[in-house]
Subunit: 201 residues, 2 copies
């Protein structure tokens, strides 16, 4: 979100009715497997390719006058991800942070929900049958949490993709704070600003 | 592919045994739906998020000594995409072009396969059960072929993502040559080299 600022939830909930609220969920699950038999995957973390060609988290607008943020988020997840999202529900305790954009009067609330790998796989399997598939949602992808030997492939290359709003920053914070990557490793990525010219030439 | 050059198929097949061959398929299907009720989707075109955090086409290494390129490609599609790939087979007539990289002695052959939307949806639905899912393949996404009113969202933003090797160039050529986008519109994207700073800040 261009020009967004972090705000407290209480402050966000006190914003006037000219503000619209969005809620998004970082869905993740422990994955014990190894890539190529030697690189620990650690966790499966889901993001979605959006209709606008950018990566973001599943979720959407919530009518905060009519229902709680979490009720609205769980409804959005059903629309965006399909029936497998009814196997769990995102709660207030899983709230992480909020980002407000003053120019558009949109405030985005982020949650992180830990699933079992089976629940997360069910979300992936069911997503192509969701109402918004092929329209607002172009597909789900897992985030590679490792860095390959070349120092670029994996999470660093993934972070060079286009993200919507605060999604990239929220992802990095969640990876660090939930310890989905090894402590300290995300700080290094934050300083990266390389872009391999050959990749987009 | 950094430093890759286009070569003719006959030239590629005459390369010495120190060269390794890869084959990839652009799977696409007509999609008559409208985004937001007003933006024609035209086609669903599949790409995959790879283990290295970059977008590419499904496929992989082929032992060109043991079998034809197309046999090898169809085997790779089964591993990467699962059983739904057995409902069709990519043929020599669907070959498009080859890109050779002299430094690594790897030559990549690209094919474009037109499916029905039902076949493509079956590939998406089956992909999470494929052998490589969550390992070498992190998810399938459709390419947005339209441009939103802001002139950035849609295909332009998608093209700002990280791609592997010649995948971005191959995608653009296929969109133009197969007329998956309106004639002339891809040429404009080729000149784009913007990058919204806010997206990755």
């Amino acid at each position: 979100m261009a020009g967004s600022r972090k705000i407290e939830l209480t402050e966000a909930l006190a914003l006037g009715s000219e503000w619209r609220h969005m809620c998004f969920a970082i869905l993740y699950a422990p994955d014990p497997r190894m890539l190529f038999g030697r690189i620990p995957l650690r966790y499966a973390v889901l993001m979605e390719m959006r209709f606008d060609g950018r990566l973001g988290f599943p979720g959407g607008f919530v009518n905060s006058q009519k229902r709680t943020l979490e009720d609205g988020l769980n409804r959005e997840l059903l629309t965006k991800l399909g029936e497998a999202a009814s196997a769990f529900s995102v709660e207030r305790t899983e709230y992480r942070n909020s980002h407000a954009e003053d120019t558009t009067h949109v405030v985005a609330h982020f949650y992180a929900k830990r699933l079992t790998l089976e629940q997360l796989e069910a979300v992936e399997a069911g997503a192509p049958k969701a109402k918004d598939h092929g329209l607002e949602v172009l597909g789900l992808v897992r985030v590679p949490l490792y860095t390959l030997r070349d120092g670029v492939g994996g999470l660093p290359a993934f972070l060079e993709n286009s993200f919507i709003g605060a999604a990239r920053e929220v992802l990095l914070e969640a990876l660090r704070d939930l310890e989905l990557v090894e402590p300290g490793s995300v700080l290094n990525f934050k300083r990266h600003s390389f872009r391999q010219p050959s990749l987009n030439s």
